[in-house]
Protein backbone atom coordinates (compact mmCIF):
# COMPACT_ATOMS: atom_id res chain seq x y z
CA UNK A 1 0.00 0.00 0.00
CA UNK A 2 1.33 3.43 -0.87
CA UNK A 3 2.11 5.69 2.05
CA UNK A 4 0.77 9.24 2.13
CA UNK A 5 3.31 10.14 4.80
CA UNK A 6 6.55 8.24 4.29
CA UNK A 7 9.45 8.92 6.61
CA UNK A 8 12.44 6.64 6.22
CA UNK A 9 15.90 6.44 7.73
CA UNK A 10 15.72 9.87 9.35
CA UNK A 11 18.61 10.92 11.55
CA UNK A 12 18.84 14.28 13.26
CA UNK A 13 21.00 15.92 15.92
CA UNK A 14 20.57 19.31 17.55
CA UNK A 15 23.63 21.46 18.00
CA UNK A 16 24.25 22.32 21.63
CA UNK A 17 27.08 23.86 23.63
CA UNK A 18 28.27 20.36 24.56
CA UNK A 19 28.37 19.12 20.98
CA UNK A 20 25.71 17.49 18.84
CA UNK A 21 22.73 15.97 20.66
CA UNK A 22 21.26 13.15 18.55
CA UNK A 23 17.47 13.03 18.84
CA UNK A 24 16.41 10.85 15.91
CA UNK A 25 18.43 7.80 14.97
CA UNK A 26 16.70 5.71 12.35
CA UNK A 27 13.11 6.91 12.32
CA UNK A 28 10.65 5.14 9.99
CA UNK A 29 7.01 6.17 9.83
CA UNK A 30 4.55 5.21 7.12
CA UNK A 31 0.94 6.33 7.15
CA UNK A 32 -1.52 5.43 4.35
CA UNK A 33 -3.86 8.16 3.13
CA UNK A 34 -6.69 8.95 5.51
CA UNK A 35 -5.27 6.84 8.33
CA UNK A 36 -4.59 7.84 11.90
CA UNK A 37 -1.12 7.23 13.28
CA UNK A 38 -0.46 7.57 17.00
CA UNK A 39 3.15 7.95 18.11
CA UNK A 40 4.12 7.11 21.69
CA UNK A 41 7.47 7.00 23.44
CA UNK A 42 9.32 8.03 26.60
CA UNK A 43 9.34 11.74 27.30
CA UNK A 44 12.08 13.76 25.70
CA UNK A 45 12.63 11.17 23.00
CA UNK A 46 12.22 13.46 19.99
CA UNK A 47 8.49 13.11 19.33
CA UNK A 48 8.02 16.83 18.86
CA UNK A 49 10.87 16.92 16.35
CA UNK A 50 8.78 14.54 14.27
CA UNK A 51 5.95 17.11 14.05
CA UNK A 52 8.35 19.77 12.82
CA UNK A 53 9.70 17.42 10.17
CA UNK A 54 6.29 16.56 8.73
CA UNK A 55 5.10 20.17 8.73
CA UNK A 56 8.28 21.27 6.95
CA UNK A 57 9.36 23.63 9.72
CA UNK A 58 12.75 21.88 9.75
CA UNK A 59 14.74 19.41 7.67
CA UNK A 60 16.52 16.33 8.99
CA UNK A 61 20.31 15.87 8.83
CA UNK A 62 19.77 12.75 6.73
CA UNK A 63 16.93 10.57 5.53
CA UNK A 64 13.81 11.59 3.64
CA UNK A 65 10.40 12.89 4.61
CA UNK A 66 7.87 12.38 1.83
CA UNK A 67 4.28 13.60 2.00
CA UNK A 68 1.86 13.04 -0.87
CA UNK A 69 4.64 11.80 -3.14
CA UNK A 70 6.86 14.85 -2.66
CA UNK A 71 9.86 15.39 -0.44
CA UNK A 72 9.12 17.98 2.25
CA UNK A 73 11.65 20.79 2.04
CA UNK A 74 9.63 23.78 3.29
CA UNK A 75 6.23 24.47 4.90
CA UNK A 76 3.56 22.76 2.79
CA UNK A 77 0.57 25.02 3.51
CA UNK A 78 -1.74 21.99 3.52
CA UNK A 79 -1.01 20.94 7.06
CA UNK A 80 -2.94 21.68 10.21
CA UNK A 81 -1.33 21.78 13.64
CA UNK A 82 -2.64 21.53 17.19
CA UNK A 83 -0.48 21.71 20.30
CA UNK A 84 -0.84 20.90 23.98
CA UNK A 85 -1.03 24.65 24.57
CA UNK A 86 -4.12 25.69 22.56
CA UNK A 87 -2.70 29.12 21.72
CA UNK A 88 -5.53 31.46 20.79
CA UNK A 89 -5.30 35.08 19.71
CA UNK A 90 -6.89 36.69 22.76
CA UNK A 91 -8.07 39.78 20.86
CA UNK A 92 -10.15 37.75 18.42
CA UNK A 93 -13.42 35.94 18.97
CA UNK A 94 -13.48 32.15 18.81
CA UNK A 95 -14.95 32.31 15.31
CA UNK A 96 -12.24 34.72 14.13
CA UNK A 97 -9.58 32.48 15.68
CA UNK A 98 -10.87 29.46 13.79
CA UNK A 99 -10.88 31.45 10.53
CA UNK A 100 -7.22 32.50 10.90
CA UNK A 101 -5.69 29.77 8.62
CA UNK A 102 -8.15 30.65 5.86
CA UNK A 103 -6.84 34.22 5.85
CA UNK A 104 -3.35 32.85 5.13
CA UNK A 105 -4.10 29.96 2.80
CA UNK A 106 -7.15 31.29 0.98
CA UNK A 107 -7.03 35.09 1.19
CA UNK A 108 -9.47 35.40 -1.71
CA UNK A 109 -12.14 33.33 0.00
CA UNK A 110 -15.47 35.09 0.57
CA UNK A 111 -16.05 36.01 4.18
CA UNK A 112 -19.47 34.37 4.22
CA UNK A 113 -18.06 31.08 2.98
CA UNK A 114 -15.19 31.20 5.49
CA UNK A 115 -17.60 31.93 8.33
CA UNK A 116 -19.93 29.15 7.27
CA UNK A 117 -17.04 26.69 7.18
CA UNK A 118 -15.80 27.75 10.62
CA UNK A 119 -19.31 27.67 12.08
CA UNK A 120 -19.88 24.20 10.70
CA UNK A 121 -16.79 22.91 12.51
CA UNK A 122 -17.61 24.73 15.75
CA UNK A 123 -21.02 23.11 15.67
CA UNK A 124 -19.47 19.67 15.16
CA UNK A 125 -17.26 20.02 18.24
CA UNK A 126 -20.11 21.38 20.35
CA UNK A 127 -19.10 25.03 20.50
CA UNK A 128 -22.17 26.45 18.82
CA UNK A 129 -23.23 29.55 20.74
CA UNK A 130 -19.65 30.31 21.81
CA UNK A 131 -18.47 31.66 18.45
CA UNK A 132 -18.56 35.29 19.58
CA UNK A 133 -16.90 34.69 22.94
CA UNK A 134 -13.28 35.63 23.59
CA UNK A 135 -10.84 32.77 24.29
CA UNK A 136 -10.37 33.93 27.89
CA UNK A 137 -14.05 33.18 28.52
CA UNK A 138 -13.66 29.49 27.61
CA UNK A 139 -12.45 26.53 29.65
CA UNK A 140 -9.30 24.63 28.71
CA UNK A 141 -11.26 21.83 27.05
CA UNK A 142 -13.32 24.29 25.01
CA UNK A 143 -10.21 26.15 23.91
CA UNK A 144 -8.72 22.86 22.76
CA UNK A 145 -11.89 22.10 20.77
CA UNK A 146 -11.62 25.49 19.09
CA UNK A 147 -7.93 24.80 18.45
CA UNK A 148 -8.90 21.55 16.66
CA UNK A 149 -11.36 23.46 14.48
CA UNK A 150 -8.64 25.96 13.60
CA UNK A 151 -6.27 23.12 12.71
CA UNK A 152 -8.63 21.65 10.09
CA UNK A 153 -10.64 24.66 8.90
CA UNK A 154 -8.62 24.93 5.68
CA UNK A 155 -9.13 21.22 4.89
CA UNK A 156 -5.49 20.21 5.33
CA UNK A 157 -4.42 16.85 3.94
CA UNK A 158 -2.24 16.27 7.01
CA UNK A 159 -3.19 17.00 10.61
CA UNK A 160 -0.36 17.00 13.14
CA UNK A 161 -1.15 17.01 16.84
CA UNK A 162 1.43 17.29 19.59
CA UNK A 163 -0.10 16.02 22.85
CA UNK A 164 -3.25 18.08 22.27
CA UNK A 165 -5.16 16.56 25.17
CA UNK A 166 -2.23 16.31 27.57
CA UNK A 167 -3.24 19.18 29.84
CA UNK A 168 -6.90 18.18 30.24
CA UNK A 169 -8.57 16.17 33.01
CA UNK A 170 -9.46 12.56 32.23
CA UNK A 171 -13.17 12.94 31.49
CA UNK A 172 -12.70 16.02 29.32
CA UNK A 173 -9.98 14.10 27.50
CA UNK A 174 -12.27 11.16 26.77
CA UNK A 175 -14.91 13.60 25.49
CA UNK A 176 -12.36 15.10 23.13
CA UNK A 177 -11.29 11.64 21.89
CA UNK A 178 -14.85 11.08 20.76
CA UNK A 179 -14.98 14.53 19.16
CA UNK A 180 -11.76 13.66 17.35
CA UNK A 181 -13.23 10.36 16.18
CA UNK A 182 -16.27 12.17 14.75
CA UNK A 183 -14.17 14.83 13.04
CA UNK A 184 -12.12 12.08 11.45
CA UNK A 185 -15.19 10.45 10.02
CA UNK A 186 -16.31 13.76 8.51
CA UNK A 187 -13.02 15.29 7.34
CA UNK A 188 -10.51 13.78 4.92
CA UNK A 189 -7.17 14.26 6.69
CA UNK A 190 -4.30 11.92 7.38
CA UNK A 191 -3.34 12.30 11.02
CA UNK A 192 -0.22 11.99 13.12
CA UNK A 193 -0.87 12.25 16.85
CA UNK A 194 1.97 12.55 19.33
CA UNK A 195 0.87 11.36 22.75
CA UNK A 196 2.06 9.73 25.95
CA UNK A 197 -1.34 8.26 26.74
CA UNK A 198 -1.50 4.61 25.62
CA UNK A 199 -5.31 4.41 25.92
CA UNK A 200 -5.57 7.49 23.70
CA UNK A 201 -3.29 5.92 21.11
CA UNK A 202 -5.37 2.72 20.96
CA UNK A 203 -8.73 4.53 20.95
CA UNK A 204 -7.82 6.92 18.14
CA UNK A 205 -5.08 5.17 16.16
CA UNK A 206 -5.17 2.87 13.16
CA UNK A 207 -1.58 2.14 14.03
CA UNK A 208 0.54 2.95 17.05
CA UNK A 209 4.25 3.57 16.62
CA UNK A 210 6.47 3.15 19.67
CA UNK A 211 9.65 5.18 19.61
CA UNK A 212 12.70 4.15 21.60
CA UNK A 213 14.30 6.49 24.14
CA UNK A 214 16.53 9.25 22.86
CA UNK A 215 17.94 9.10 20.27
CA UNK A 216 14.66 7.79 18.93
CA UNK A 217 14.24 5.06 16.36
CA UNK A 218 11.08 3.25 15.37
CA UNK A 219 11.01 0.41 17.89
CA UNK A 220 7.64 -1.18 17.32
CA UNK A 221 4.53 -0.76 15.17
CA UNK A 222 1.15 -1.98 16.36
CA UNK A 223 -1.79 -2.32 13.97
CA UNK A 224 -4.94 -1.40 15.81
CA UNK A 225 -7.51 -3.77 14.43
CA UNK A 226 -10.63 -2.20 15.90
CA UNK A 227 -13.74 -0.86 14.13
CA UNK A 228 -13.74 2.81 13.12
CA UNK A 229 -16.85 3.66 15.16
CA UNK A 230 -15.27 2.88 18.51
CA UNK A 231 -16.72 3.89 21.85
CA UNK A 232 -14.77 4.40 25.06
CA UNK A 233 -16.16 1.03 26.25
CA UNK A 234 -14.01 -0.78 23.70
CA UNK A 235 -10.95 0.09 25.79
CA UNK A 236 -12.23 -2.31 28.45
CA UNK A 237 -12.64 -5.25 26.02
CA UNK A 238 -9.97 -7.99 26.07
CA UNK A 239 -8.62 -7.25 22.56
CA UNK A 240 -7.96 -3.60 23.46
CA UNK A 241 -6.56 -4.55 26.87
CA UNK A 242 -4.17 -6.99 25.14
CA UNK A 243 -2.94 -4.18 22.89
CA UNK A 244 -2.42 -1.91 25.89
CA UNK A 245 -0.33 -4.64 27.54
CA UNK A 246 1.82 -5.03 24.44
CA UNK A 247 2.35 -1.24 24.25
CA UNK A 248 3.14 -1.05 27.96
CA UNK A 249 5.85 -3.71 27.52
CA UNK A 250 7.28 -1.85 24.55
CA UNK A 251 7.43 1.40 26.52
CA UNK A 252 9.27 -0.46 29.28
CA UNK A 253 11.81 -1.65 26.73
CA UNK A 254 12.10 1.88 25.34
CA UNK A 255 12.78 3.28 28.80
CA UNK A 256 15.33 0.51 29.42
CA UNK A 257 17.34 1.57 26.41
CA UNK A 258 17.07 5.12 27.67
CA UNK A 259 18.63 3.94 30.97
CA UNK A 260 21.60 2.34 29.20
CA UNK A 261 22.43 5.51 27.32
CA UNK A 262 22.65 7.71 30.40
Amino acid sequence: MTKFIDISGVHHAYKTKHGPLPVLDGLDVGVPKGEFCAVVGPSGCGKSTLTRLISGLMRPDSGVVIVDGQEVTSPRKTVGMAFQNPVMLEWRTILQNVMLPLEIVAPGMKRDAAEARAMHLLEMVGLKGFENKKPSELSGGMRQRASLCRAIVHKPDVLIMDEPFGALDNFTREDLWQTMRDLRAAEPFTCVLITHDLRESVFLGDQVIVLSGRPARTQFVLDVDLPADRTIDILYEPRAVDMLHILRDQIRIAQGRDGEVH
Binding site: R52, S55, G56, L57, S74, P75, R76, K77, V79, M81, F83, N85, V87, L89, E90, W91, L100, P101, E103, I104, V105, K134, S136, R150, H154
Partner: protein, 254 residues
Amino acid sequence: MENAQKIVVPLLAILAFLGLWEFIVWVNGWPNYVMASPSDLPAAYARFWNLFLVMGWQTLWRTVLGLLIAVLFGTMLGMVMGFSKLARDALYPLLVGFNAIPKATLVPVIALLFIGQHDFNTVLMAFLISFFPIAVSVGIGLSTLEPEYRDILRALGASRFTIFRKIALPKTLPEFFGALKVAVTLAFIGTNLVEIVSPHGRGLGALFKSGETNGDYPLMFAVLIALAFLGIVLYYAVVALEKIFAGWAERPAS
Protein backbone atom coordinates in the same frame (compact mmCIF):
# COMPACT_ATOMS: atom_id res chain seq x y z
CA MET B 1 -22.84 54.51 39.73
CA GLU B 2 -19.56 52.95 38.72
CA ASN B 3 -18.81 55.88 36.42
CA ALA B 4 -19.64 58.38 39.14
CA GLN B 5 -17.18 56.58 41.36
CA LYS B 6 -14.50 56.78 38.67
CA ILE B 7 -14.88 60.58 38.51
CA VAL B 8 -15.96 61.56 42.00
CA VAL B 9 -13.37 59.57 43.95
CA PRO B 10 -10.29 60.97 42.19
CA LEU B 11 -11.79 64.48 42.35
CA LEU B 12 -12.20 64.12 46.11
CA ALA B 13 -8.58 62.95 46.35
CA ILE B 14 -7.43 66.04 44.45
CA LEU B 15 -9.53 68.33 46.65
CA ALA B 16 -8.12 66.67 49.75
CA PHE B 17 -4.60 67.24 48.41
CA LEU B 18 -5.30 70.94 47.73
CA GLY B 19 -6.86 71.27 51.18
CA LEU B 20 -3.77 69.79 52.83
CA TRP B 21 -1.52 72.11 50.83
CA GLU B 22 -3.59 75.17 51.81
CA PHE B 23 -3.57 74.04 55.46
CA ILE B 24 0.22 73.59 55.61
CA VAL B 25 0.81 77.06 54.13
CA TRP B 26 -1.73 78.59 56.54
CA VAL B 27 -0.41 76.80 59.64
CA ASN B 28 3.14 77.95 58.94
CA GLY B 29 1.98 81.44 58.11
CA TRP B 30 4.02 81.53 54.89
CA PRO B 31 3.49 84.67 52.80
CA ASN B 32 3.02 84.11 49.05
CA TYR B 33 6.62 85.14 48.24
CA VAL B 34 7.84 82.11 50.23
CA MET B 35 5.28 79.51 49.22
CA ALA B 36 2.11 79.92 47.20
CA SER B 37 -1.11 78.30 48.36
CA PRO B 38 -3.95 76.99 46.18
CA SER B 39 -6.11 80.02 46.97
CA ASP B 40 -3.47 82.23 45.27
CA LEU B 41 -3.82 80.36 41.99
CA PRO B 42 -7.20 81.58 40.61
CA ALA B 43 -5.89 85.15 40.66
CA ALA B 44 -2.80 84.09 38.68
CA TYR B 45 -4.93 82.29 36.10
CA ALA B 46 -7.30 85.25 35.80
CA ARG B 47 -4.44 87.67 35.23
CA PHE B 48 -2.47 85.61 32.69
CA TRP B 49 -5.19 83.43 31.12
CA ASN B 50 -4.29 84.36 27.55
CA LEU B 51 -0.61 83.54 28.18
CA PHE B 52 -1.63 80.20 29.67
CA LEU B 53 -3.63 79.33 26.56
CA VAL B 54 -0.89 80.34 24.08
CA MET B 55 2.01 78.83 26.07
CA GLY B 56 0.01 75.75 27.03
CA TRP B 57 -0.73 75.08 23.38
CA GLN B 58 2.97 75.45 22.48
CA THR B 59 4.00 73.01 25.18
CA LEU B 60 1.27 70.58 24.18
CA TRP B 61 1.97 70.38 20.45
CA ARG B 62 5.72 70.04 20.96
CA THR B 63 5.23 67.29 23.49
CA VAL B 64 2.77 65.40 21.29
CA LEU B 65 4.97 65.74 18.21
CA GLY B 66 8.03 64.52 20.15
CA LEU B 67 5.95 61.65 21.48
CA LEU B 68 4.75 60.67 18.00
CA ILE B 69 8.31 60.54 16.72
CA ALA B 70 9.27 58.52 19.81
CA VAL B 71 6.45 56.07 19.05
CA LEU B 72 7.58 55.60 15.44
CA PHE B 73 11.27 55.35 16.23
CA GLY B 74 10.79 53.33 19.43
CA THR B 75 8.52 50.83 17.69
CA MET B 76 10.98 50.34 14.83
CA LEU B 77 13.90 49.96 17.22
CA GLY B 78 11.85 47.54 19.33
CA MET B 79 11.01 45.48 16.23
CA VAL B 80 14.67 45.21 15.27
CA MET B 81 15.61 44.19 18.82
CA GLY B 82 12.65 41.85 19.14
CA PHE B 83 13.36 39.89 15.99
CA SER B 84 17.17 39.84 16.02
CA LYS B 85 19.15 38.55 18.98
CA LEU B 86 22.26 40.10 17.45
CA ALA B 87 20.66 43.55 17.43
CA ARG B 88 19.42 42.99 20.98
CA ASP B 89 22.88 42.10 22.25
CA ALA B 90 24.44 44.99 20.35
CA LEU B 91 21.98 47.75 21.23
CA TYR B 92 20.90 47.12 24.83
CA PRO B 93 24.02 48.44 26.60
CA LEU B 94 24.08 51.46 24.29
CA LEU B 95 20.43 52.26 24.96
CA VAL B 96 20.64 51.74 28.71
CA GLY B 97 23.73 53.94 28.83
CA PHE B 98 22.05 56.66 26.82
CA ASN B 99 18.97 56.48 29.00
CA ALA B 100 21.10 56.87 32.14
CA ILE B 101 22.48 60.23 31.00
CA PRO B 102 20.61 63.11 32.69
CA LYS B 103 18.90 64.78 29.78
CA ALA B 104 19.48 68.26 31.26
CA THR B 105 23.12 67.85 30.24
CA LEU B 106 22.05 67.50 26.62
CA VAL B 107 20.23 70.81 26.52
CA PRO B 108 23.36 72.96 25.95
CA VAL B 109 24.68 70.39 23.45
CA ILE B 110 21.50 70.49 21.41
CA ALA B 111 21.21 74.26 21.77
CA LEU B 112 24.72 74.67 20.32
CA LEU B 113 24.16 72.18 17.51
CA PHE B 114 20.93 73.74 16.34
CA ILE B 115 21.22 77.36 17.35
CA GLY B 116 17.93 79.21 17.37
CA GLN B 117 15.91 76.21 16.22
CA HIS B 118 13.84 76.43 19.36
CA ASP B 119 10.82 74.36 18.26
CA PHE B 120 13.08 71.71 16.79
CA ASN B 121 15.24 71.50 19.91
CA THR B 122 12.22 71.11 22.17
CA VAL B 123 10.60 68.41 20.07
CA LEU B 124 13.95 66.63 19.80
CA MET B 125 14.33 66.55 23.59
CA ALA B 126 10.78 65.29 24.13
CA PHE B 127 11.59 62.52 21.66
CA LEU B 128 15.01 61.65 23.13
CA ILE B 129 13.67 61.30 26.64
CA SER B 130 10.61 59.19 25.78
CA PHE B 131 11.53 56.62 23.11
CA PHE B 132 13.41 54.30 25.47
CA PRO B 133 10.49 52.64 27.33
CA ILE B 134 8.65 52.16 24.03
CA ALA B 135 11.61 50.47 22.33
CA VAL B 136 12.21 48.18 25.32
CA SER B 137 8.58 47.12 25.72
CA VAL B 138 8.04 46.41 22.02
CA GLY B 139 11.33 44.50 21.92
CA ILE B 140 10.42 42.37 24.93
CA GLY B 141 6.89 41.81 23.66
CA LEU B 142 8.17 40.47 20.35
CA SER B 143 11.03 38.38 21.71
CA THR B 144 8.77 36.60 24.21
CA LEU B 145 6.18 35.49 21.65
CA GLU B 146 5.27 31.82 22.30
CA PRO B 147 6.74 29.64 19.53
CA GLU B 148 3.39 27.89 18.97
CA TYR B 149 1.91 31.10 17.59
CA ARG B 150 4.68 31.34 15.04
CA ASP B 151 4.62 27.66 14.12
CA ILE B 152 0.90 27.59 13.38
CA LEU B 153 1.27 30.35 10.79
CA ARG B 154 4.69 29.35 9.49
CA ALA B 155 3.47 25.82 8.77
CA LEU B 156 0.87 27.45 6.51
CA GLY B 157 3.61 29.24 4.60
CA ALA B 158 2.89 32.69 6.08
CA SER B 159 5.61 35.31 5.59
CA ARG B 160 7.41 36.97 8.50
CA PHE B 161 5.51 40.16 7.78
CA THR B 162 2.15 38.37 7.93
CA ILE B 163 3.10 36.76 11.24
CA PHE B 164 4.10 40.19 12.54
CA ARG B 165 0.88 41.85 11.38
CA LYS B 166 -1.54 39.13 12.46
CA ILE B 167 0.03 38.04 15.71
CA ALA B 168 3.13 39.83 16.98
CA LEU B 169 1.86 43.38 16.56
CA PRO B 170 -1.54 42.99 18.27
CA LYS B 171 -0.01 40.77 20.95
CA THR B 172 2.50 43.50 21.82
CA LEU B 173 -0.10 46.27 22.10
CA PRO B 174 -0.77 45.92 25.86
CA GLU B 175 2.95 46.26 26.63
CA PHE B 176 3.18 49.10 24.12
CA PHE B 177 0.45 51.09 25.80
CA GLY B 178 1.94 50.44 29.22
CA ALA B 179 5.16 51.99 27.97
CA LEU B 180 3.33 54.84 26.25
CA LYS B 181 1.79 55.89 29.59
CA VAL B 182 5.31 56.22 30.99
CA ALA B 183 6.53 57.96 27.84
CA VAL B 184 3.76 60.60 27.95
CA THR B 185 4.94 62.04 31.26
CA LEU B 186 8.59 61.70 30.26
CA ALA B 187 7.95 63.68 27.07
CA PHE B 188 6.48 66.52 29.15
CA ILE B 189 9.62 66.57 31.24
CA GLY B 190 11.72 66.76 28.06
CA THR B 191 9.72 69.62 26.59
CA ASN B 192 9.81 71.67 29.77
CA LEU B 193 13.46 71.04 30.33
CA VAL B 194 14.28 72.88 27.13
CA GLU B 195 11.61 75.52 27.67
CA ILE B 196 12.94 76.35 31.11
CA VAL B 197 16.68 76.06 30.58
CA SER B 198 17.17 77.62 27.17
CA PRO B 199 17.04 81.44 26.87
CA HIS B 200 14.16 83.07 24.98
CA GLY B 201 12.14 79.91 25.52
CA ARG B 202 8.47 79.57 24.83
CA GLY B 203 5.75 77.42 26.26
CA LEU B 204 4.73 76.85 29.86
CA GLY B 205 8.37 76.29 30.83
CA ALA B 206 9.23 79.83 29.77
CA LEU B 207 6.20 81.14 31.66
CA PHE B 208 7.50 79.34 34.75
CA LYS B 209 10.89 80.92 34.20
CA SER B 210 9.44 84.41 33.93
CA GLY B 211 7.49 83.80 37.13
CA GLU B 212 10.77 82.90 38.80
CA THR B 213 12.55 85.97 37.40
CA ASN B 214 9.77 88.26 38.72
CA GLY B 215 9.49 86.48 42.05
CA ASP B 216 5.86 85.68 41.23
CA TYR B 217 5.31 82.47 43.19
CA PRO B 218 1.59 82.16 42.48
CA LEU B 219 2.37 82.27 38.73
CA MET B 220 5.04 79.56 39.06
CA PHE B 221 2.73 77.23 40.93
CA ALA B 222 -0.10 78.01 38.53
CA VAL B 223 2.21 76.85 35.72
CA LEU B 224 3.04 73.64 37.57
CA ILE B 225 -0.64 72.88 38.08
CA ALA B 226 -1.32 73.62 34.39
CA LEU B 227 1.46 71.20 33.45
CA ALA B 228 0.00 68.56 35.73
CA PHE B 229 -3.39 69.14 34.11
CA LEU B 230 -1.96 68.72 30.57
CA GLY B 231 -0.18 65.59 31.71
CA ILE B 232 -3.40 64.11 33.06
CA VAL B 233 -5.29 64.96 29.86
CA LEU B 234 -2.64 63.35 27.65
CA TYR B 235 -2.39 60.31 29.93
CA TYR B 236 -6.10 59.66 29.74
CA ALA B 237 -6.03 60.16 25.98
CA VAL B 238 -3.59 57.22 25.92
CA VAL B 239 -5.86 55.24 28.23
CA ALA B 240 -8.76 55.84 25.84
CA LEU B 241 -6.67 54.64 22.88
CA GLU B 242 -5.64 51.61 24.91
CA LYS B 243 -9.28 50.75 25.60
CA ILE B 244 -9.99 50.85 21.85
CA PHE B 245 -6.95 48.94 20.58
CA ALA B 246 -5.96 46.69 23.48
CA GLY B 247 -9.15 46.46 25.52
CA TRP B 248 -9.12 42.68 25.05
CA ALA B 249 -6.17 42.36 27.43
CA GLU B 250 -8.27 43.66 30.30
CA ARG B 251 -9.93 40.79 32.16
CA PRO B 252 -13.44 41.49 33.40
CA ALA B 253 -13.39 42.23 37.13
CA SER B 254 -14.87 39.38 39.11
